[in-house]
Subunit: 273 residues, 2 copies
């Protein structure tokens, strides 16, 4: 079965998209086509969108699913005319929340929010630059201000994880690749890491997967050979065990999952609120 | 008024967090303390959490707000005992969606999903590496495979925007900083950009804001002086106008907003689904 799902917002559409994908992921039997329509912020755009939805409804077996976070009541009213099954987040929850909090929401008065200048936002952007500046062991002198330092072999997922932690949580995450040079001295941690033991967290990865990832980067090289990957992973896992460094195998997890697991494990709270 | 809001999940908690923050941002009069509790995936953890919630409820004026995406019914039942106002996303919407789609959700049978090995996920991670490899004009030879190339003065927001587009949408975004060298030849676009005109999108920024950002990086330098920032911004905005390159002023927008606006404007769809 095929269905179209539209995530509609007068802002970025991230909330509608995130919630919609979570809900629809629970329906294995349906093949969804996802469409995001951000910045539907005029009646004209809303009317064009209703037309688009109605055309889809005419062409497919079932009417489209609409997940929306529209605030403006005029736009809401126009959307109401579309031939769609609507998951209307604000309508579902803001009323009950108003009652619980005994206060009216700005929703009622048609106000929306921008986050660009908040302290939270600047923390996040600073954290992204921190992750970039302290990526791949290039510099170690700023480790004092790190919240966490990820260590592991090359291409085990350190960099995307650091960037995600920065972007999503405002966490200052550095990373240090354990290379063959380090492994020849693997009886102990590299010096630059020794004084930051409390901040270290290890990543590891299945050898097959590592070889596949490295092969895309440098096909048929020693670097991407199974033997080399196997050697590096074994040495690094031994190091984690010997030094009592907690670690996670990234093979079956996304950066979202890896990041959330690390933060729970280290007891780190996001940098804002 | 102060209230604690808990975002609870047996996974990463991102859906609960995103929806919860969107809903609660509509209540200006309340000062929320946000707490995220991911991976609440055992009855034991759920019981400890209920205790935590009840202690908060005892200490604050109003009971906590709980936004959750728990799937396991045993854990759901335990959470039900907490003294909290509950926004129970799956309970609200999965029933109606089951009816609409005429299919049972995997929710009903207690199944959850991991995304780490999907094609979507690999597209995203590849896009992150693409953004890093093609950051800051360091390389221009991979512009053929770019979905978009952001141009603008140093520190106007290009890098975080590229990384966000990669992480969130799987878009391959390169960026090229327009420097003084370019400006001295500003009668035309730098050569490496000319053949990719269709992919270019400009970023600009208010001079005050640019000077403030640069001052944090290199205090009291020529680079961060108001005069220099003013010169660069003017030259670049003139170039955008002359070359008919669409641009956005990033001063009052977050990377989420900038990215969504650019994708709408360029008509780029996310790389997956």
């Amino acid at each position: 079965m095929k269905r179209t799902a539209l995530f509609i917002s007068d802002g970025t559409g991230i909330t509608a998209e995130t919630l919609g994908q979570s809900l629809l992921a629970q329906f294995d039997g349906v093949e969804f086509r996802y469409v995001t329509r951000p910045y539907v912020d005029t009646e004209e755009k809303a009317r064009a969108l209703v037309e688009e939805i109605n055309i889809i409804a005419g062409n497919e077996e079932g009417r489209p699913i609409v997940v929306d976070t529209i605030i403006d009541t005029r736009i809401r009213d126009i959307l109401e005319e579309a031939n769609a099954f609507r998951v209307d987040i604000f309508a579902s929850y803001l009323g009950p929340l108003e009652e619980e909090l005994a206060i009216r929401s700005s929703y009622s008065v048609g106000k929306s929010h921008s986050i660009a200048h908040s302290r939270n936002y600047m923390e996040r952007i600073d954290a992204v630059h921190y992750a970039l500046d302290n990526d791949d062991g290039g510099r170690t002198r700023h480790y004092d201000s790190a919240d966490i330092i990820l260590i592991g072999v090359s291409r085990c997922g350190k960099t995307p994880t650091c960037l995600y932690m920065a972007m999503q949580y405002g966490i200052r995450a550095a990373n240090y690749p354990l290379t063959e040079d380090d492994m020849d001295n693997m009886l102990q941690l590299p010096k630059s890491l020794q004084e930051h033991r409390g901040k270290l967290f290890g990543l590891t990865i299945d050898v097959d997967r590592l070889a596949a990832i490295r092969n895309e980067r440098k096909p048929n090289s020693r670097y991407s050979s199974y033997a080399q990957c196997e050697y590096e992973v074994r040495e690094v896992e031994n190091l984690f065990a010997r030094e009592n460094i907690k670690f996670i195998n990234t093979t079956h997890f996304s950066v979202e999952e890896i990041s959330a697991k690390i933060l729970v494990d280290k007891g780190i709270e996001r940098r804002f609120k």
